[in-house]
């Protein structure tokens, strides 16, 4: 992608007048997107993302300059602009590049760029038909197919020069159920760090589509969720969004390094109930949030965040590590060349525990069983989080009595982690896009079924 001599010259220029570290992140990405609505392909899009970002670190200060012009002149101009921001000091001396191979844990059997769009469209048609066959109340199905082949080159003044290819494929199905007066929706969004073989090995479009449609129909006939403070059982899979929001973001160096996290300074302390062990793992082959190397060129890792309730690790990028005097954890990520990297999650989950799923509900009394979760958000400085329940059931005296709609869950991370009183045995993950300081990136969330002894439930 980039000649080594030019790369060396650009880095030299970037630190010519100051800075103790410089890096080039160059990217060339091909995206395909197919959209099906009303049973018809509405659009097929191909897009090429291309550009480079040059970062110069000067102690705890970061300068980032990016452009689409990746010619020698374009990159030299970026380097000069970055250098201008640290003028007047002596810069570091770049180390000669040593080649480094990041390895390829998985093989892409069917490169999406080589698969005809017509074959991709078949997956959407299958999903559409399966969703509509669930009920005549399904009035619309939104199908989106996306794949992305991202080639990156990362090199820096510490001698790193590494290239990587990330291939991701995803199917999204949204079903709308309506009785003419009200609409309700259900959606499923499976994806992986894989090529088109995703559909042979992991994802049956019809099964996911039928599930999305079933959720929409169930919610159309559901009553509003009661409001108040109740025990809540959260199912596995996307239920893991509770940990992602209530705790995960607050363990990223992005907030911890500045003391802007409720968990800053708490390494070695108990921050969760003893039944909670949580992991952020970028190494799982083929998972949506997995990487070979992070976006700073460091090998990805498996990181235990919380062990038996005790905080043992933060997720740290290079700059955050400088501020915290701690080593980076292979957690530096960014949406594209247009974002400076920062610490982010990969595949983050609560590990499987010992508790019986049926007992969890049978002994909860009156409360909410949140079967399918939507997204959420958090304010790491205060720990205040919120997330949506896409499919919920009301529980009375330990028995599921009816579906409920429109529920949301809120709380403060530190309080909620201590209130987890059951952790089930069957851990599953699900796919999401996580938006934060360095853009929108693919992550997995996951957990077994868990119970929180009390949580504020929003509803009517």
């Amino acid at each position: 992608m980039l000649d080594r001599n030019i790369a060396a010259e650009v880095l030299q220029r970037a630190v010519a007048t100051g800075g103790d570290f410089a890096e080039i992140f160059m990217e060339d990405r091909l995206n395909h997107n197919l959209s099906l609505r009303s049973g018809r392909l509405q659009s097929v899009r191909t897009g090429r993302v291309h550009g480079a970002g040059i970062r110069v670190l000067d102690g705890l200060g970061a300068i980032y300059v990016y452009t689409n012009d990746t010619s020698r002149e374009g990159l030299m101009d970026c380097a000069a602009q970055a250098a201008a921001a640290v003028k007047g000091k002596a810069g570091c001396k770049p180390v000669a590049f040593s080649h480094w191979d990041c390895g390829r844990p998985e093989e892409i059997r069917l490169q999406p760029a080589d698969v005809k769009a017509a074959l991709k469209a078949e997956k959407l048609r299958a999903a559409d038909a399966a969703a509509r066959s669930v009920s005549p109340e399904i009035v619309q199905v939104n199908g989106e197919y996306t794949d992305s082949t991202q080639d990156v080159l990362i090199c820096n003044t510490e001698g790193l020069f590494v290239q990587d290819r990330r291939v991701r494929t995803r199917l999204s199905v949204g079903a709308v159920a309506s009785d003419g007066r009200e609409n309700q929706v259900g959606s499923e969004n499976p994806g992986a760090l894989m090529g088109f073989e995703l559909f042979d090995e992991r994802v049956d479009p019809e099964a996911y589509a039928a599930q999305a449609a079933q959720t929409a129909v169930t919610m159309l006939h559901a009553e509003s969720c009661p409001a108040g403070v109740f025990p809540v059982v959260i199912d596995n899979g996307f239920g893991g969004v509770i940990f992602h929001e209530a705790c995960g973001h607050s363990l990223e160096a992005t907030s911890v390094a500045y003391g802007l996290s409720e968990f800053a300074g708490k390494l070695g302390q108990q921050i969760a109930a003893p039944c909670v062990t949580a992991v952020d793992d970028g190494t799982i082959p083929g998972e949506w949030g997995s990487l070979h190397i992070d976006d700073e060129g460091m090998p990805t890792t498996k990181l235990v965040l919380i062990r038996d309730g005790i905080l043992v690790n933060y997720m740290i990028d290079k700059l955050g590590g400088r501020r915290m005097n701690m080593a980076p954890t292979g957690s530096g990520r960014r949406e594209s060349y247009a974002w400076a990297p920062t610490s982010r999650m990969r595949n983050t989950y609560i590990a499987a525990g010992q508790d019986d799923e049926n007992e969890m509900i049978a002994t909860m009394g009156t409360g909410l069983y949140a079967k399918r979760m939507g997204g959420g958000s958090v304010n790491p400085a205060t720990g205040e989080f919120n997330f949506a329940v896409n499919e919920g059931y009301w529980v009375e005296d330990g028995k599921i009595v009816r579906p409920v709609r429109g529920a949301s869950l809120i709380g403060k991370g530190g309080e909620v982690l201590m209130k987890i009183d059951r952790v089930g045995r069957n851990m599953q993950m699900a796919q999401g896009m996580c938006g934060s300081a360095s853009g929108s990136i693919p992550v997995n969330v996951g957990q077994p079924m868990i119970r929180v002894s009390s949580l504020t439930v929003g509803g009517k």
């Binding site: 550009g51 200060g61 689409n68 400085a381 919120n386 429109g406």
Partner: protein, 450 residues
């Protein structure tokens, strides 16, 4: 870029693409951020992107690129051919030759002199310092930043259209300062954000002090017990809600059963207090434009007038399907996406009463200033929302205390009908969608017992 566009349209024609259109955007931006009295982030960018859409046998194909080499031309032409061959859209797509004339839009005057990086650095340091000096309960800065950008949008097609404008008209400058406040065990965050066309119109000291005031006012908040409360959404909270549900006014969504407003033109869908405007000609608006993404002339219109739905927002395709004229609301997702529908400067027409009067007339209830989790807890297809909220408890027309850790739930379609009054304090905050504060009547609120 002229050369590349010419070459691309030439190659498209040779390949059998009957009519083709290029959408091109470029942008230069500068941003700087301070934390704890030091500059911690400094960002400069120059970006360009180009999309191609083209008709083959009456069907539209799409492609886009950020690389401008010969490979990009081949890739895009082939992608458009493949894309068009698969397109099954029932409606006839078109590429428009353009209007005879376009309306004039008053463009804000630029700064006589461009501010230097040093001036912007001094600005963020001053803004942060001003905020931290207000009160010792302001414990820490979450960052003070300023960002300026200027860009160009250009649409060129083989029917002879060639339109160009600044994006946004007049340029944009944003300032943000976020703070952490603490008193005893109460920890809160607060911020102030301000947008202007000219950097010189931003006031560092005033912004820093406003952020500090907002933060301090939230200290020692607590929930309220679950129940039905009278609620006023402050202008910033109402803006975020309107932005989340703006898609229900799209004719495309209505035609595809993704909005419940299909065929409801002429019906009363909101209270009499509600007039909802879409005004692309608004002087100084951040979404102001003389033309839309298809090259149709932009025009001002009421979407809801005194509670009655006057029109949905249309592009040429949705208008044709419904036998009406486009409202000039065609929009692309990025440069390479299909033509969809989107509002421009979109806002509730302000009423006579200021926020203090609205609060006074409500007597008892909640003033909600912040809504969270809108991307997940609000569903534009059903209209349902159940959102984390913050604000103040109001009793006897006075602010009693800050409120946090509550949710507010409702349905946007029903909310429109229950609006009692629209305030006079219309704000846009650098976006196209804006709102005054709105008294929405009664809402369901959840929280822990105190």
């Amino acid at each position: 870029m002229d050369g590349f566009i010419k070459k691309l349209l030439g190659a498209a024609k040779l390949a059998g693409i009957e009519t083709a259109e290029v959408c091109y955007m470029d942008s230069d931006s500068f941003g700087v951020s301070a934390k704890d009295g030091e500059i911690n982030e400094y960002e400069v960018s120059a970006t360009r992107s180009l999309g191609l859409r083209g008709l083959v046998n009456g069907k539209m194909g799409y492609a886009s690129t950020e690389a401008f080499d010969d490979a990009a031309i081949d890739m895009m032409v082939n992608a458009v051919l493949e894309s068009a061959a698969l397109n099954e859209s029932e409606e006839q797509d078109e590429i428009f030759a353009g209007e005879e004339t376009y309306p004039a839009v008053e463009t804000p005057a630029a700064d006589p002199e461009q501010a230097t990086a040093e001036e912007k650095i001094a600005f963020v340091l001053e803004m942060e310092k001003a905020a931290l000096q207000v009160d010792e309960r302001i414990r820490q800065s979450q960052g003070a930043s300023v960002q300026t950008s200027r860009g160009t949008l250009r649409i060129v097609n083989s029917m002879g259209l060639d339109l160009r404008r600044e994006q946004p008209l007049g340029g944009a400058a944003f300032a943000f300062v976020g703070l952490l406040g603490q008193e005893g065990s109460s920890v809160v965050t607060g911020y102030e954000v301000k947008a202007a066309h000219r950097f010189s119109d931003l006031d560092a000291k005033a912004l820093g002090e406003a952020a500090a005031e907002e933060t301090l006012s939230k200290l020692n908040g607590s929930p309220v017990r679950p129940g039905v409360y009278r609620v006023i959404f402050r202008n910033d909270a109402m803006q975020s809600l309107l932005a989340t549900f703006s898609g229900i006014f799209s004719a495309e969504n209505a035609q595809q059963k993704l909005s419940l407003l299909e065929g409801r033109e002429g019906e009363t869908i909101a209270s009499e207090a509600v007039t909802l405007m879409d005004d692309p000609l608004l002087p100084g608006g951040f979404a102001s434009t003389p033309f839309d993404a298809e090259g149709s002339a932009a025009r001002r219109k009421a979407v809801i007038e005194d509670g009655k739905l006057v029109t949905l927002l249309h592009n040429r395709k949705t208008a044709k399907k419904q036998g009406t004229a486009t409202t000039g609301n065609a929009a692309r997702q990025g440069v390479g996406g299909p033509i969809r529908v989107a509002p421009t400067n979109f806002f509730f027409k302000p009423g006579e009463k200021d926020l203090a009067t609205l609060i006074n007339e409500m007597d008892d209830g909640l003033l909600l200033t912040e809504l969270g989790g809108l991307h997940a807890g609000a569903n534009p297809i059903s209209g349902d929302f159940s959102l984390i909220a913050k604000g103040y408890l109001i009793a006897n027309g006075q602010r009693v205390r800050p409120v946090e850790q509550i949710t507010v739930a409702g349905n946007f379609y029903q909310l429109l009908k229950g609006i009692r009054a629209v305030g006079s304090d219309l704000e846009f905050r650098g976006q196209g969608i804006g709102s005054p504060s709105v008294d929405v009547g009664s809402m369901n609120v959840s929280g822990a017992e105190q």
